[in-house]
């Protein structure tokens, strides 16, 4: 069936199998591979992206459910090609990533977290990221990155919305 989804500001109209998951649509149909698949039980959060301004695990959404919606993936977060989003900048400065596999999902979950709670405590950051697993960092620097991004006041999706 044919669906139309706006991905990072560009309309994507495609004929797809009804069983196609949103993550498959993004990776295989649209061809954006920054969004990763790390499990098959909706446990790891590597596939987290924004659907209509809220973070979702794109392995638990059918592409048809997103028909008519707007999606932002990691590729659409930075304000320009030579600029990082404050959350991306913060992850880099705090060494909040190692192998990089959980990173796109983690960054998307983190920006969404700050939308909901612009000034979270450490415990609130840890609660907010519970659904995103990382094996490399022990979460220490990820939490530090989110707290530092919150301090900038620009760690949420305000940057995206302004586009």
């Amino acid at each position: 069936m044919e669906i139309s989804i706006t991905v990072n500001g560009t309309e994507q109209r495609h004929d797809i199998e009804p069983r196609t998951l949103l993550v498959q649509f993004i990776r295989e149909v649209v061809g954006l591979t920054g969004t990763n698949i790390g499990c098959d039980t909706s446990s790891c959060g590597a596939c987290t992206l924004h659907l209509d301004g809220e973070s979702v695990k794109s392995c638990t959404v059918l592409a048809v459910q997103a028909d008519g919606g707007a999606i932002t993936t990691i590729e659409g977060l930075a304000p320009s090609d030579d600029e990082l989003h404050p959350m991306q900048e913060s992850f880099r400065e705090q060494h909040g990533l190692q192998c990089g596999f959980c990173t796109p999902g983690m960054v998307m979950a983190a920006t969404s977290l700050l939308d909901e709670n612009p000034d979270p405590s450490e415990a609130e950051v840890r609660e907010g990221l519970e659904g995103n697993l990382c094996r490399c960092t022990g979460y220490h620097n990820i939490v530090a990155a989110v707290l530092a991004a919150a301090k900038t006041g620009r760690g949420g999706t305000a940057v995206e919305v302004a586009q």
Binding site: E93, H95, C99, T103, G138
Partner: protein, 754 residues
């Protein structure tokens, strides 16, 4: 001023953060255009005789191109042994042949146009299997009533028995014994296994998610009977390894054969549920510790007997006991140390290396033994440790199990961590809570550890440095980064030696055509061996460049200096007249200036440290909450504190995970019951505090960087500290030991069954 020792931000990060890495599943290499998808059909039975595998329906399934089982592979040999010392009678076929030996073992393979078609067809494969009893415990394996490999005659995969002497223990005032289970855990890199293969003429090109591209190449050469020019392994970004991605698995090795049959490229990306049963597990030791000494706290004798679970097909896991023996007596000067180990085969997923690989098991055993001994003689566990530490003036120190420690100051690391943790205040807090008698009690765990990196034998790694005519540089390394930040660390070494800015240095790794030879990244070896090779190759490049610059400046090479700050050569005392790297490299010709070396360390290095864990245990529910984790980890000279701290954080978290949460479990019939990330309790952000790190640097004399490995230390120190903290919280209730993982259920059960 040198760039080394600074918190240099990672050069690889902007890509990871903006478009994501390019992992094997993401590859769109032209060679892989039109690649078919490979799906493995896996055994649902732990142990049984295969009487028939019917692929007829699968072959007719829509979108299926081909399907194969072991009978199609009759001309191919068993897979190369993971370690040459393993018994070929316990060798592994690429697809289950005659018998299945674990749930998850590949029985058949489906090749299809899409992954969905493969998944559908896999459901229609019918395997007739006559069940055999599943061998799961040391008792069953050693009894040998059911054998996994009849030709072998027993279920033993490695015997490291050295004998027992009870006399030394009989002479001790105090002797304590305990059974410990160092449970099986899953590696859980966020990227599962994935690989692709294609024939480029008569040359096999293999892409894969691995820690050791040259090791994979060697395995492929051996299985396919190809010389080294006929195999190329390319490793794109790798989403974590932690040990299980060191070797080449059956599912990967077979891809070249499939591609050959069909004349098309093929790609395999497993699911997480497959990964949990198909990729090797870590740990898996049943240990018995016996420790004896005098009432003043002096330990005189220690014995560690263990059974190591190899899983169904012996691989690196069978040899973990060897590493455990290497580190058996830890940081302590114990006159008598005894060690006996048998590795067994069981009807479970094969075991392999996992962060620490045999050393966390050694540390967990000796540290638990020290706690039990301290409790028995009525001393503070930190003070019993201090009383038995190898003194700082005793290095190099040879242990009773023949290991030579390079350098260390264990007491200082203990002092630093106790001070940072506020140990006396913690004990006072604990006493106050006990006196108050509330349900939530405090537990304090202390560990002191030493481990072996870039070992257990002397290691080596390849490095090559090229300065191009435009003044930029490329360094080639046999190490293979999968999150360790080599692009940054190794570039820092080139910048330090040559004065070429870090943004002009490129690191090449993972492609066996680009990197002539190499070993890979595991065992915390990369910086000390691979980094030292880059450092030395850089020095050789400077030597060559000096000769050329001398000609350009019409001077004696001996009078020339390299101004590292400016990246140019000049005669000593006259910096105004100089020749830049681009001028010198261009003068050398179109290929610039290059040098290569294989850095070989005379022996391994021995990082050490001390950890303090603080937990709160709810004695009504059994819930354990880790409150603080304070660690001192000494890995010698630190090149980039940012990256080293990150390695420590990740290591600590995995140790906490084993101590409190993670356990790969099977039911009585050998069915995995923690076979996905919903059932396997992989540690998350809410279960951890931020860590408190204490810095200490004792350089090793064994390499020019003074560096030891840091990748595994965190795990080795934290696992016993956290377990000890739980046991410490319960000690007032008369409980002296709880096995890992210290889950609420286990803690509650221990309290209830007092």
């Amino acid at each position: 001023m040198s760039i080394l020792g600074n918190r240099v931000l990672r050069t690889e990060d902007p890509t990871f953060l903006t478009v994501g890495g390019t992992y094997t599943a993401d590859l769109d290499d032209p060679l892989l255009a039109g690649a078919l998808h490979v799906t493995y059909v896996r055994s649902m039975v732990a142990h049984g005789v295969i009487t028939d595998i019917d692929l007829a329906e699968a072959r007719q399934s829509p979108g299926v191109v081909a399907a194969y089982s072991a009978e199609d592979l009759a001309d191919m040999p068993p897979l190369p042994l993971a370690v040459p010392l393993l018994d070929p009678r316990q060798g592994r076929p690429a697809l289950a042949t005659d018998k299945v030996r674990f749930v998850g073992e590949p029985l058949a393979v489906i090749v299809s146009e899409t992954p969905e078609a493969g998944a559908d067809a896999a459901e229609s494969v019918w395997a007739e299997i006559d069940f055999l009893p599943a061998v799961l415990t040391p008792e069953d394996a050693l009894a040998g009533d059911t054998l996994l490999f009849e030709d072998k005659g027993d279920n033993i995969s490695l015997d490291l028995s050295f004998g027992e002497d009870d006399d030394v223990f009989d002479a001790c005032e105090v002797v304590v014994e305990e059974q410990l289970h160092n449970q099986r855990v899953a590696g859980c890199p966020l990227e599962v296994r994935a690989a692709a293969a294609v024939w480029d003429g008569d040359r096999l090109v293999h892409f894969g998610s691995t820690q050791a591209p040259h090791g994979v190449k060697a395995t492929l050469q051996e299985w396919y009977g190809l010389d080294e020019t006929k195999v190329r392994v390319k490793t794109p970004d790798v989403g974590g390894g932690f040990g299980p991605k060191i070797g080449a698995y059956a599912e990967e090795v077979l891809l070249g054969w499939i591609a050959k049959q069909l004349g098309r490229p093929v790609r395999w990306v497993e699911t997480r549920s497959e990964n949990m049963v198909g990729m090797g597990h870590g740990r898996g030791q049943w240990q018995t510790v016996k420790i004896g000494g005098s009432r003043d706290g002096t330990v005189q004798a220690y014995r560690l007997n263990l059974v190591q679970d190899s899983g169904a097909y012996p691989a690196l896991g069978a040899f973990l006991s060897f590493m455990t023996r290497t580190m058996a007596s830890g940081v302590y000067d114990i006159p008598e140390v005894q060690f006996n180990a048998k590795s067994i085969v069981t009807n479970t997923t094969p075991t392999v290396a996992y962060r620490g690989a045999g050393r966390p098991e050694a540390t967990a055993a000796i540290e638990r033994a020290m706690d039990l001994f301290a409790a028995e003689v009525g001393m503070d566990p930190a003070e019993v440790r201090r009383a038995n530490l190898i003194p700082s003036d005793a290095f190099p120190f040879t242990t009773p199990t023949d290991t030579v420690y390079d350098v260390g100051d264990y007491e200082r690391s203990l002092d630093l961590v106790l001070d940072a943790a506020g140990y006396p205040e913690l004990r006072a807090d604990q006493a106050a809570r006990r006196a108050a008698g509330g349900p939530v009690q405090l537990g304090i765990g202390v560990s002191v550890y030493v481990e072996v990196t870039a070992g257990p034998q002397a290691g080596e790694e390849f490095g090559r440095v090229v300065v191009h005519p435009d003044g930029t540089a490329t360094a080639y390394t046999g190490a293979s980064s999968h999150g360790q930040g080599h692009d940054t660390s190794f570039a820092m070494l080139v910048t330090d030696a040559l004065g070429i800015p870090i943004e002009d240095v490129t690191i090449s790794h993972g492609d066996t055509d680009e990197v002539a030879r190499g070993v890979g990244t595991f065992g915390s070896r990369s910086l000390q061996l691979g980094g030292s090779a880059i450092h030395e190759a850089s020095g050789l490049v400077v030597d060559k460049a000096r000769e050329i610059a001398a000609e350009l400046l019409e001077a004696d090479p001996a009078d020339l200096v390299l101004d590292v700050a400016g990246g140019a050569f000049h005669v000593a005392g006259t910096p105004a007249v100089s020749r830049s790297w681009s001028e010198v490299a261009a003068a050398a010709g179109p290929d610039g200036i290059e040098a290569e070396t294989d850095f070989k360390s005379a022996s391994p290095t021995f990082p050490f440290g001390a950890h303090v864990a603080v937990v709160e245990v709810d004695t009504e529910t059994g819930l354990v909450r880790l409150v603080r984790m304070v660690t001192c980890d000494d890995a010698g000279t630190v090149l980039n504190p940012l990256i080293v701290e990150g390695q420590r954080h990740g290591g600590i978290a995995q140790g906490v995970a084993q101590a409190l949460y993670e356990h790969m479990q099977y039911d009585d019939e050998g069915n995995p019951v923690t076979g996905n990330l919903a059932d396997y309790t992989m540690i998350s952000s809410t279960e951890l505090p931020s860590f408190e790190l204490v810095t200490m640097e004792t350089p090793t004399p064994l390499n020019p960087l003074g560096a030891k490995g840091i990748g595994e230390s965190g795990t080795i120190g934290s696992t016993p500290a956290v377990q000890s903290a739980v046991c410490d919280a319960l000690s007032a209730l008369g409980i002296r030991h709880v096995d890992m993982p210290c889950t609420p259920e286990r803690v509650w059960e221990a309290i209830r069954s007092r």
